[in-house]
Symmetry: C3
Subunit: 325 residues, 3 copies
């Protein structure tokens, strides 16, 4: 069940953590600023713990079912690492598309099977809304690892955490999101979370890949200042955060349109010279040419630290929904 | 080696458990009623342990090679969960069909390699008899997770355990098995185990999917009362256990035959009204329509508890063959 | 970084083991005889530990990313077993060819992602030199599990360790390598390590599969006595070690050439009667007919012990590069 409900898990004392214990993580919309503050505090502790001693026994005896209906090495590895560094164990279910689970069995039945074996389920699924369905049927917490072009809530959480870590605050910042803003679920999750903060946002995209109108409207309704442009050069010198995603050639029907805009969305050392001396260049990875390799040594290039933060945030979430922090 | 032989494993004291320590689990025929009673007693303890504290360190330092030549997410996940909840570790070998192990290497060579790395091997294989071959070559215990249309002994064990758990006894019960009784290895394993108890059995199947004659003869020779019918309605009001399996359309050459019988094998709430108030509705899962979803909330619907029992029985077997109970 | 450099890993005291701590394992060329002696001493301890108690907590809290771009059940299982018997955890990344990691992402980016989650990376890759590239970008140790037709250093290490274990020494021995010496990376790694010892080597191969001239020249330059022949019968009675690899039919353009030589490279009980009473018959496995099954019971058949030694040597390497021995 989604929301601040009573714990679903049987056999553990209730009320140890009112807001996260027993809760599903399926949408960024379920979080308040206080929720984020709480999770980021735990994530800070997880980082410190990993740096100091590598791992803990906090989730010893707990089992994560890591259920991936589509391959995502990066996200699945991050959850596995988070669970084992907390002392827990993992049932890796990664080739589902080839297996009997997928042969006609409904998602609810698969979920009800896995909850017999595990204490928490992480689900990646190609269909929008699959995580909410799974959460409704499960009597243990379900954490979405992305469903279709819908949400990818833990990515949004780690993105905000990275902004905090890099710049010390989120309020008062100007965040530019760049690339395919139409289809990118990470951008949608990030924008929805930024809504909670006093931020200015610039959406930088070619005309056919603009942010969906309803998300733009949400930002405005929340009182945020919003700009739209198709050229990163227009905002590069004012942005505190530049969040880059891939512009895929195959999204364009008219290839000349693609040729006309594509260079606006490639981060080069020259472009970084126009950026603020203190800012964060982010990317959910994998990149395929959107950020040139010779930008990697720039201290503002935050994308690998962003990746690492993913593990700490996921450790915090796993511990929180299992009532162990 | 199969049977009540001396322990195969080197380095552990012998005779700690005469009947299971070092033994392979490759056929239901190897078990006596005492064996089942022993394993179910341990399974009860495992259930209580998991409910109370989630896991134990009983198999700490032990390694399971989980070798699946064909995908079976459900069974492989169950064994992984069983092993990690006992504190052990798992080498998951699930994509064998794509890997070098399968490129021409013989099963005995693969087994002799894996016994260098692990303490117990779980094997799923598409060919009948593969588990017995593996057991013959291994110097560590081999547990069959199903071979071809042959046996699936741990499924049979968990099915009987579920009948005990649901109804408190097996003796004196009337068990109806429904669906494809010709090809279903779970039904064959279950029937062979039921032979050990004072049971009445009804085999409910379309004419072309009837129970093989030799298994039927086994039941009769063991003194069991046996009925055959092609309509579940004939026995639904008298059965203490209804064990449903899938009738696959593709088994019929004449599709009109399929259309004529298929509805006899779908469990609906209306049909459940004709069943005894105290009985167990079971299914090895996955189901694809044989039991309607609105039956799930019926307290007699035991199939998800059956799934959970699988983990406890497999925990008991792993601990037993490794001499730790 | 490759070589005897300062530790790359942050957060552990430096200088605990000058030669291996923080080091990558990407080529047999990086090892001296002292290095091998050290690793084999640790491998002996690992063997004794596994035989006595099965496992240890030495690497508790440490995480191995087991990154296989091509399937190799045998090698990946061996590394997983090594890590879990040391008390560590594993992120298994085995279906990379199907996943997003491989969709256009560069190897350096993948490595820099995985080092956020893990403490050591094992890499199997189809391209020569991939391990060295990975090692250059990683700030944690990288251990090659074979790259293309290039190197397979841990196989070479376990092969020499097996010779020690079987015969008590390597100096003074006559080692015959048999089969496809042109393409076999295990043979190349083994020959390069044997160079460090006072050995005589015979290279037994059909004309089109002879050892590359540059490796032969290396042996001679190192002062080793080297023979070449296309008939195993020429050397079988003088060899202390016979190291067999597969001669693949598909390597021959003229099939009559294959037919003419193939029987020279099959080990039979009859051939073993011509061999020394004290010698070691080795094979990296899997075999596909090169050694007949009825040779397996010959006490000189060392290939399954060789397989087991792989786990001990890999345990030693993992513990050493993580500074825990």
């Amino acid at each position: 069940m989604v929301g601040n409900s009573s714990p679903k898990k049987v056999g553990l004392a209730a009320d140890r953590l009112a807001s996260f214990y027993g809760r599903d993580i399926v949408s960024v919309d379920q979080f308040s600023r206080q929720d984020l503050g709480y999770i980021y505090g735990v994530a800070d502790e997880m980082r410190s713990l990993v740096k100091r001693v590598g791992a803990t026994d906090l989730l010893k005896g707990h089992v994560l079912a890591n259920l991936f209906y589509e391959p995502s090495t990066r996200t699945s590895s991050s959850f596995i690492a988070a669970m084992v560094r907390l002392g827990g164990s993992v049932i890796p279910i990664h080739g589902v598309q080839y297996s009997s689970v997928s042969k006609g069995e409904s998602l609810p039945d698969t979920i009800r099977t896995l909850q017999c074996y595990s204490d928490v389920i992480v689900l990646r699924h190609p269909e929008i809304g699959a995580s909410a369905v799974a959460a409704r049927y499960a009597n243990i917490p379900v954490i979405s690892a992305g469903d279709g072009t819908g949400e990818h809530p833990t990515q949004g959480l780690l993105d905000i955490y990275t902004i905090y870590s890099e710049l010390g605050t989120v309020d008062g910042l100007h965040v530019a999101m760049v690339g395919d803003l139409k289809n990118g679920r990470t951008v949608h999750s990030l924008a929805r979370l930024l809504k909670l903060y006093d931020t200015e946002m610039s959406f930088v995209a070619p005309d056919n890949l603009r942010l969906p109108q309803d998300i733009r409207d949400e930002m405005v309704a929340a009182g945020r200042t919003v700009h739209e442009t198709d050229r990163l050069q227009d905002v590069i010198d004012r942005a505190d955060v530049v969040y880059v995603t891939r512009v895929q050639r195959e999204r364009f029907q008219d290839l000349s349109e693609y040729e006309a805009v594509k260079d606006y969305y490639v981060i080069t050392p020259a472009l970084m010279q126009e950026a603020k001396p203190r800012m964060a260049l982010m990317h959910p990875l994998p990149r395929v040419g959107e950020i040139q390799y010779d930008v990697d040594d720039d201290p503002r290039a935050a994308y690998f630290r962003q990746m690492e933060n993913g593990m700490y945030v996921r450790m915090a979430l796993l511990a929180a929904v299992l009532g162990k922090v």
